[in-house]
Each structure stands twice: as C-alpha cells, then as structure tokens.
Symmetry: C2
Subunit: 490 residues, 2 copies
C-alpha cells in the first residue's frame, strides 16, 4: 500500500530532480552558453523556476504532510526539511513573493551600473525597495518573532542572530588586534612573474584530484567567478586564471573542491532527496574553508605544493619552502572581501553582518549606510575607504536580497576551526601526510564524520557530532593567532 509518506517522497524526488536541472542550466550559463542566448535563457530559467515554485506551494504537499509519519531518523529528517520548505512558501503572500522576484531581478543590473560608476546614490532607492520587501518577508516568516532570525533560516537553519552575535563579538577584537600586529611586521615576499594559464589549469585539476574530487562525477572549467554546482553524481566546479596570480586559480579550485566534495560524498542513499544536499551555507563554507585554508595553506601542504609549482612553472623566484609558505599566507591591505586573507576576511563579514541587522531592524537607513560602512571600515581596518566600489557597493548580495547570507561565511570559518581541531586529534600525523601531498586521511575523516550525512542532522548538530564539542570561535582564533604569529613573528 502506498502511504502519504511514499507519495510525498515520490513528489519531492521529482522536485529535487527539477532543482538539479535548474543547477545544470546555471552552470551552463556561466561556462558554455553563447552570449547571445542570455535573454532567451532568462525566459527558459523563469519557466523552470515557475514550475518549481508551483510544486513548493502544491496543496497536496500540505495534505501529505498532515498524514505522513516518519518511521525512522531519516524519514523524520526528510519530513523536517519538506515541512520547513512548505511552511516557508505558505507564509509569504504570493504578491510579495512575485514583487520580490521582479525587484531583485532588476536590482542586480542597477547595482552593477552603480558600482561601475561609483555612485551609491544611484543604487540607494533600489536597495531601499529590496530592503523594504525583505523586511516584509522577514516579518511574515517570523510571525511575531525576530525578522532577521527568520531570514537567517533560509541559509542557516537553527541559527539566531544572538548566537552569531556572541560568537562574532568574541572574534572581532582579537582579529583587529592580530591584524594590527601582522600589518605592523615585515611582510613575506609577494609572488612575481607570469605563470602560463593552461599550466595553471592543469595543476589545478591535479590538485582537485589530490583533494579527493571525483572527476568521473564532476569537471573543472574556467568561469569569471569560481563556483561549485550540483549535487550527487554531477557536481561541477569552475575556477579562473590570471597570469600573474596562480594562487587565485589554485586556491579557488581547492575552495570549490571543498564544496563539491561535500556534495559528492553524501550517502548515495540520499540521492535526489532533501537529505542529498549540503545542509546549510555555513556547513558548506566550513568544508570549502578547511580544504582551502587549514589544509591547503598549511606549512605541510604548501611544502608539497611548492614542488608541484616548480615542476609546472620552473623556477619562479622563491626556492625556499618556508619562504613560499609565507608568500602563500601573505597578509595585505585591501578593501575587497573576496580578495582578503585569513586574518582579515572575517572582519569584512562582521561589518556586513552588523550593518544588515541594523537595516532589517530599521535602526539604520539606507541613506546612512555608506557613512556607516566607511566609519566601521576605518575602525576595523585602520584606513579609509576610497570609493564606493571598494566599499558599500562591492558585493552583489544585498541587491538580490541576500540579507542573512554574509554571516554564514564567518560561521563556516568558525566551524572549519572546530573541525580542524578535531581532525588534528583524529589524525596525529596529518602534517606528514599533507607534506607528501596526501589528503586522504583528512578528507576521509571529513567525509565519514560530516559530509556523508548530508541533511540528516541540523547544521550545528552535525558539526558538534563531528567535533565532539559544541562549536565555538575558540579554535579558529587559536589557529589564526598561532599561524600568523609564527609567520610574522608577532
């Protein structure tokens, strides 16, 4: 006999499959789509999104949910995910959802033009409109609770602004202090010269495999922005090349491999179900960050990488692996979050988190945002923003309504710090392995203790299960202070 649960799962599986189709289109758009196809593609994607939207709101899902019972932990987790998505879709009035889709789809272009012209005033009215709609949405979702917390759930189920605030509040002063010390000390040499771009891609593909990326269920291509796309057995990544900066290509690849390996390593039994995707943005970012930073930028691994780079590019002017380690981890002044280093990155994020909470709470007007940004930047970084494209206009996120998203970047770093501490205990000779270019014990531990679970546990829970302790900012801070204290002698 077919139960309500069976029917719900069959319907959900088809929806998940259609979601993957949308992902394939997204990949195609950024990699292989002819440029003249853009307008037509928007309509094709719109048609698919409208099918997905109708399925999310389908009244049968409500009926099935009312009757379905989860017979085991996995079934209960499936129902939890499906119920959360259905409730979310049901709480937002259709008019508001449509208006949000319309407004954000136009807003991105207006933001891009304002950024190109360094003109915040040209973007402000649009941002006000997006903010207003997201505040309405947050209120509808919160049902009397905190709208910002409600928005957070889209990216990090279970997270609260209060928890994040406590965590980030503890991070900020020590990061500012570390930043001051590091930038006051002599810096390691920067990389110079040019590096053949096809050799960069070849090396990146090899490094992707070194980190356990399964090429038979993925592929590496070039795109303007690095990303990972897809779940299960079709998880593709992109990277980019710059002849003067091979680290950009290499570390973008390792970062995206962290995301992609998470998706590839989820239990095959969860394929095309709500458990068959990474559980949250924060947990996802913890994987990309631990692959990229704690493993990829470690002294042990960079020693191996140095040899690979000499092989790929010949002598490039840095022959000492210790000096190379310093070069890889060089901290430098800059305005742009995405170009930042391990020391300063979270300061960029914390700034955005605090400002967007105030905007959603209604205590910071868009008209005051640029000034607030610049004041905060100078306080944390020690120098003034020179132009809006290096400040308040640098990120696309707010234009498309992503309020609540930024926090997951730093949460991911905090989680990566915790996982790294637990990993070091579980694999005592990790450095010896990394020094030989062998990541299998590290990536295997992450696969077995975290990645394979997909959406089975809630985000915080899956981190705590893997680490054996409640996630907190302590390990990340200890790691950063030790690492950069040693490199910079501070």
């Amino acid at each position: 006999m077919t139960t309500a649960y069976d029917e719900l799962m069959a319907f959900t599986r088809e929806t998940e499959a259609l979601g993957q189709v949308a992902g394939r289109l997204g990949w195609d758009q950024e990699t292989t789509m002819p440029r003249g196809a853009a307008a037509q593609r928007a309509e094709e994607m719109g048609a698919l999104e409208s099918v997905l939207h109708a399925r999310r709101m389908d009244p049968r899902v409500g009926d099935w949910l009312a009757k379905a019972e989860g017979s085991d932990d996995e079934a209960k987790a499936h129902l939890r995910h499906i119920r959360r998505d259905f409730d979310r879709a049901s709480k937002v009035p259709a008019d508001l959802a449509a208006e949000l889709a319309r407004t954000t789809s136009m807003a991105q272009g207006i933001w891009a033009e304002a950024r190109a012209n360094d003109d915040f005033a040209a973007f402000a009215p649009t941002l006000e409109r997006v903010l207003d709609l997201r505040r309405q949405e947050g209120a509808a979702l919160a049902e009397g609770g905190d709208p910002y917390d409600a928005l957070l759930q889209d990216y990090e189920p279970g997270a609260t602004a209060a928890d994040l605030d406590a965590m980030f509040g503890a991070l900020r002063p020590r990061l500012v202090e570390l930043r001051d010390k590091v930038l006051g000390a002599p810096a390691p040499a920067a990389l110079s010269g040019t590096f053949d771009e096809s050799a960069q891609m070849k090396l990146s593909r090899q490094i992707a495999k070194t980190f356990g990326y399964d090429m038979s269920r993925g592929r590496v291509d070039k795109a303007v922005h690095p990303f990972s796309s897809g779940s299960g057995n079709d998880v593709r990544i992109t990277t980019r090349t710059n002849p003067e900066d091979p680290f950009n290509c290499i570390y973008s690849t390792i970062h995206e491999v962290g995301h992609a390996a998470y998706e590839q390593n989820i239990d095959q039994a969860y394929l095309l179900t709500p458990l068959g995707r990474g559980v949250s943005m924060g947990v996802h970012e913890s994987q990309s960050r631990i692959y990229e930073n704690q493993l990829g930028r470690s002294r042990a691994f960079t020693g191996w990488l140095h040899g690979q780079m000499v092989e790929a590019f010949g002598d490039f002017g840095i022959s000492d692996p210790d000096a190379f380690y310093g070069t890889v981890n060089r901290v430098h002044k800059g305005y742009i979050r995405t170009e930042s280093d391990e020391v300063q990155y979270n300061l960029h994020v914390l700034l955005r988190f605090d400002l967007e909470r105030q905007m959603i709470a209604g205590t910071l007007d868009v008209s005051d945002l640029e000034e607030a940004w610049n004041a905060r930047f100078e306080a944390d970084f020690g120098y003034a923003v020179d132009k809006p494209s290096n400040g308040v206009l640098q990120d696309v996120h707010w234009s498309v309504g992503l309020f609540g998203y930024f926090a997951t970047y730093s949460l991911g770093n905090v989680y990566a710090g915790c996982l790294h501490e637990a990993l070091r205990k579980a694999v005592p000779d990790l450095d010896a392995q990394l020094a030989a270019g062998d990541t299998s014990a590290a990536t295997g531990w992450l696969r077995d203790n975290l990645q394979r679970h997909g959406g089975l546990y809630e985000p915080r829970e899956v981190i705590e299960r893997a680490c054996g302790f409640a996630p907190n900012e302590g390990p990340l801070l200890a790691y950063l202070e030790a690492k950069f204290g040693e490199i910079y002698g501070v």
Copy 2:
C-alpha cells in the same frame, strides 16, 4: 482584457521554454556531462519530461482551444500547431503512452547489445513489442484511417504514405541505374594520410561561419554523433574528428550548420512559440542537405575548400581542384546508411520506408524482417549483406519506436533538389560566389524564402512557396544524374 488565446499562448510559451531546457540537457549529456552522472541524469530528464507531458495533456489547453480564435495568419498557425499536439496527446491512452515510454527506453540498450553481438534474434522479441505498441498507437491516432499515415504526422505533418510512395517509386529505379553505372566506372582517388584533429576543428568552425552560422548564438563542440540542438538564440552543433577522414568532420559540420541556421534564422517574433522551430523533419533535412551537398559538395565550393585544406594541412597529395572535387564526391560500396554518398543514400532510406510500412500494415513479421532486408539490399545494391550489424541492426530508430521517421531523410533530399533548382534561378552567379567561399547569397535566399517562416506554413507549402512549384523528385534526379554523370563520365 486577457482572451483565451492570450492565456493559451502564455501557457504554451512556458511549455516551449521548458522544451528548450530539455534540449539543453540533451546537449550537455552528449558533450560535457561527467560519465558517472548518467543514471542521475536519466532521472532528472525523466522529471522534466513528466512535467512536459502533463502540460501537453493539461485540460486547460482543451478549454482554451475551444474558445480561442486566431485573428491573423500567425495566430491561426499557432492554434493549428497547439491543437495538433493536444489532439495527439489526447488520442493516445495514458497506459499505452506509459508502456511505450518504458519499452522504448529499455529497447535501445537491448538493440545496442544485439548489434554488438550481431544477433538479430536477441533483438527480435523487443522489436516485436515496440512495433506492436506503435501499431496500437498508430491505430489510436488514425481513428479508422491508415496507422502509418498517422505515425508520419509526428515527423512530417501533411505527408501521406501514398504521396511518398509515388515520389520514392520514381526515384528508386533511376538511382539503382545511376549507382550501377557509377560503380562500373573508374573511381576518383580516395583521400589518404592523416590530418591533425585540432586543425580539423579549427577549419570546421571557420566553415561554419562561412555558411552563416552565428557563433554568438551557438557553439561547435565534439561529440560521438554530430547533431544540432536548440532553437532561437541558443542553437548548438557538434561534429566529430577522425585523423584519417577530415571530410567526416567538415561535412558533418556543414550538415549540422544547415539544421542550426534554419533554427537561428526563424523570425525572432516567433521565439519560444510553436512557430519558433523548424516545421518538420523533412524541411529540416532539406536545409542540412542543401548546405552539405548542393552547396558544400559543389565543384565551385570544393575549389575554395581545397585551398583551405592546403592551408590547414599542407600538401595532402591532391593538388588539382578537379581531382579534389572527385575525391569529395567519391561513390563507394558499403552497407551503412550514415556513411553513404549522394547516389546511394536514398536507396538505403527507401529500403527502410518500404519495410516499415509493411511492418506497420502487418504484412511483414519481425521474424521475416532480416531476410526481407537482405533480399531488398541485394536487389538494390548488387551484393549481399555480410552481417546484421551491417544490415537490419545498423540503425537505432526502430528500437526507440521511430516508425515513419526514415522517410523524412529522403523527402529532405527531394526538397533540397527543388530548392536548389529555384536557388540557381534566383542567383545566376552562384558558382562564382561559392568559388570565392561566399555562401551569403545562397544562405540569404534560403533564409528569406524559407527559414524565417519557421512553423508559419505547413511543410509542403513552405517548400512550394520558396520554389514556386510543387515539390517533386525531378530536380533531385536531374541534379544527381548530371553531377555524377560528369564526375564519372557515365
């Protein structure tokens, strides 16, 4: 006020967009998809097909069709297409449609294995099942009329077996006679040597542009089988390379450019509507064939191509353009339709057309098919089939239920013959242009007189409008007899 027609068109436009999405997935599957993604992709594609199927059967379409009125020729054409699709979907019982989908999806694998083992008996029971289901479907669609005619409508609306039979009946004896004469005469030299595969791809891309393919709305990639995919502003082609046979790469490209240019050149006002796609398989094939053969294998164009090949590959042993023309058009014995030449190709098709009509009519049993195939082959080609993979098992079509499809290949050749005659009248100095590698007058004439109309006119009607006379086999026969008579001196 929104009319039933407006609502129907909005719904149809979304369906067309989703159909394009399915096309993108198909392209991806043959070009970029990781091999480990196959099973997951089948499920993703299945989910999308099931959405498309439900839309085709949506009862609202029937309601809208009952009320909608076409105010002009274009609106009337839209309604004609939508009504035809809806009626077709409504006539076939759901059980039969599902059983056909299930059976044909398994049958292709069984056919491929039988072909690899040269074992027709292993495929026969499956073919019997597919044939039985398609006969049932044909009967359901025909509603008392001829089931084969009903199946033909899927590929060539308006065509009848009787019309095709008259046309093909006139072709066959003269093609057999030409084939006998040509193969009795001394053959031009065959190409020998090896040809760099990346140089083949580079030359093919250049030739694609030469034939008016718009690269900003398309792309050329390698795949196992050449194909064209998509409509409107995203029309991609594939080709293949073989180091010993650059003609395979070049002429596959030109053939697919014929298909793709047709799609690209349809009036932009028809984008993502039922008029925004090529109107039939036969008309489509007329475009690929006239590009490939009447233009691409002409003495004038091969003279230009010869120079391009010398530039791309250096001296390859044929220095005289007249000899090169013979080499390009060399007629050779062989069993395989897809490797055949202009003289023999239609004989392959006519054989299949006659046999499949008998199968659908119930006058030829699957158990007698292999013998019937071999007897007919020997009668038309003059020698015996050596093994089933070179005979009855060579094509995938019947395994997936494509009864009624083969005829459109020869119909396309007949149409191409007619269009070529009209084109020669319209562009008297065509050869001088082709000799300079300039196809713009030819492709422009085809665009303006045929391609731009998309689905506005019925297939036969659009050919007749372009040519100024009723399509018939005469021009094709005259062209083939003159061309090969001259090359072979017969």
